[in-house]
């Protein structure tokens, strides 16, 4: 991919994934006629409002009291702010929230470590057939997981049934699955990063000095890998945190992550909207925080998801 691949490498710290505006000597926003400018800002603000509508609903509903949520007041601020919904959501989601924290952090660390080793080999220590294997990896990134789900479920149950492996359940299963199905994307991110960030001359010099592959990796590659790690870890953290399909097929209400628990909370017969909406916010808070604090790297990961 010519154009898109140029953007796939994680961005260096201090730069902007989407590129800062190239200065043309004018201040931003001063191009075009006054009318055109006003129209542009009006449109931009209109879209901001449209996008924030669902978040507004989440926010105001989560602070209402259960009795307050009749239809006529659905769009207004709460008549009295209450945190009862948040408390109820916390009570029903907290065990699953903790499981999701363990799941997403483990997946992030394991996937990034594996991705950095694989990416290094595919970028700089190639072997015969590497291109073919890499293409097969890439296809694995696009498959609908439905196409492996039925045998996967059976296989993982077989492992769990093996004597000594009864602990292999719930979150342990999901960690394994996310790390494995994350191999292609993590390899891709690091491969593209190392392809530009690692000059061949340094690797040649290391070789001349007699350094082997692992030594080269440890002393030359790892120290410059931080941007790749940040992007990969954010990507894998978010994917594992937000996943529902694997959770639905491989776990249950007692072992599942927060998406599973959230779906249960929302699926009752008499929905208690304040606690449901508070639950949605609670379950989205970690990824929203990652996005707000590390948005630049988050976008870097998105771009690498486009091969590609």
């Amino acid at each position: 991919m010519t154009t898109a691949t140029a953007q796939t490498a994680p961005v260096a710290p201090g730069t902007d994934a989407l590129g800062a505006h190239v200065s043309t000597g004018k201040a931003p926003g001063t191009e075009g006629t006054a009318l055109g400018r006003t129209l542009r800002y009006a449109l931009l603000i209109l879209f901001v409002i449209l996008i924030l509508i669902p978040l507004y609903v989440l926010f105001v509903t989560s602070f209402k009291r259960s009795g307050d949520v009749n239809a006529s007041q659905a769009w207004t601020f709460p008549s009295a702010w209450s945190i009862a919904g948040w408390r109820a959501a916390w009570d029903s989601l907290s065990p699953a929230l903790f499981r999701s924290v363990i799941l997403a952090t483990s997946v992030a660390v394991l996937s990034a470590s594996l991705g950095s080793l694989n990416g290094f080999v595919f970028a700089k220590w190639r072997f015969p057939g590497a291109t073919t294997i890499f293409t097969l990896f890439l296809f694995g990134m696009f498959i609908p997981y439905q196409a492996v789900m039925i045998p996967l479920q059976g296989m993982l149950l077989d492992v769990q049934g093996t004597p000594g492996f009864s602990w292999f359940d719930g979150i342990a299963k999901l960690i394994a699955v996310h790390v494995i199905f994350g191999i292609p994307i993590c390899t891709l991110i690091f491969r593209n990063y190392y392809a530009t960030a690692l000059p061949n001359e340094i690797l040649e010099a290391a070789k001349v000095d007699g350094a082997g592959m692992l030594r080269t990796f440890r002393s030359i590659v790892l120290p410059i890998s931080a941007p790749g790690f940040v992007v990969t870890m954010i990507w894998q953290f978010t994917s594992a945190w937000n996943d529902f399909l694997f959770a639905l097929f491989l776990t249950n209400r007692n072992t599942g992550p927060v998406t599973y628990a959230l779906n249960e909370l929302a699926g009752g017969q008499n929905p208690d909207y304040p606690s449901i909406m508070a639950g949605v916010l609670l379950a989205s808070l970690p990824t929203l925080l990652v996005y707000i604090l590390l948005g630049r790297y988050f976008i870097g990961g998105l771009m690498s998801g486009s091969v590609k």
Binding site: M1, T3, L18, P28, F47, P54, F298
Partner: protein
């Protein structure tokens, strides 16, 4: 001894990735084979000896001839067309609005991308309420908001309308979530084009509109293709959002990915579910494989 030293050169690298290669081989390719084998099973109910799946290719012809499956395929088509068109229109529009640099560009960009940080399942729960079907006195969600703005005539039963194209409404939350992503792709594309080209066109007397049409947009076509493939294949795999909005057994909103869940857990028919999943894989592959080949080729060409 030339070849021996060469082997010594690449062997460590190969050994390092070997575990990943084996694991991907098993969990992607071997499981796909297993799934295909499952889809070809012949199954008979234990009590009545009724044949549920005749086995072999007939499992596939049965599924393809099934009304429920055809309905799901049609829904998927409607969803995909609206979803792809919607994200492309909004993504490109936002990128054009932002690409020249506006004050607080970062704020606008962050807000447009914000929905991507939320899981489909969480977003689906809000949208289930927003897309409530009640109208008039019973209106809640978006319909109520429309009434408050005096736009009652735009009220709709959304994905629950008695209309064959009702699945188009399911694309609204999907467009809400992913337009920002398409914007980011296009914005990166715009930023990759040097200002000199614009300047040159301007000196030649081109209007802004002509510059977009003849200078900028043509250079964005590889990005448009990427966006098309990514959104298209996401649409085919879409499960969480529909499951969260329509509930686990909705016939009205069923697509192959949700029908597979129903076949598996409600009808206890993993054979049919496996056949469904295999067809889904083939559909995705038809879109993605040519793209991967094309990408590989252009990458080689640019590398020289």
């Amino acid at each position: 001894m030339r070849t021996a030293t060469k082997v010594r050169d690449w062997l460590p690298g190969f050994l390092l990735v070997l575990p990943s290669v084996i694991v991907v081989g098993i969990f992607v390719y071997w499981l796909i084979v297993q799934n295909v084998l499952t889809s070809l099973d012949r199954t008979v109910t234990r009590a009545t000896k009724r044949v549920t799946n005749p086995g072999g290719v007939e499992n596939y012809t049965n599924l393809l001839g099934d009304d429920g499956y055809q309905h799901a395929l049609f829904n998927l088509l409607v969803l995909t067309v609206v979803f792809v068109a919607g994200t492309m229109v909004f993504g490109l529009l936002w990128a054009v609005l932002l690409e020249k640099g506006v004050n607080a560009e970062g704020v606008f960009r962050s807000v447009y991308l914000l929905p991507m940080a939320i899981s489909f399942i969480a977003a689906g729960i809000v949208w289930r309420w927003l897309l409530s079907p009640g109208k008039g006195e019973q209106a809640v969600g978006l319909n109520q908001l429309l009434a408050m703005m005096g736009l009652e005539r735009f009220q709709s039963s959304w994905w629950q309308s008695p209309n064959t194209l009702s699945m188009a409404a399911m694309a609204i939350p999907a467009i809400w979530q992913l337009s920002g992503y398409v914007m980011a792709l296009f914005l990166a594309g715009f930023r990759g084009i040097s200002d000199d080209q614009r300047e040159a066109a301007r000196i030649d007397g081109a209007t802004e509109r002509q510059i977009y049409r003849h200078v900028l947009f043509p250079q964005l076509s590889p990005i448009a293709l990427s966006a098309l493939i990514i959104i298209g294949h996401m649409s085919m795999k879409m499960f969480d959002l529909i499951y969260a909005i329509a509930g686990q057994n909705s016939y009205k909103a069923s697509v192959p990915a949700t029908l597979m869940w129903t076949q598996m857990f409600q009808q206890n028919n993993p054979t049919a579910a496996a056949a469904n999943a295999t067809i889904l894989l083939v559909l995705v592959a038809l879109v993605v494989v040519p793209y991967l080949i094309y990408t590989n080729k252009t990458e080689k060409e640019t590398r020289g």
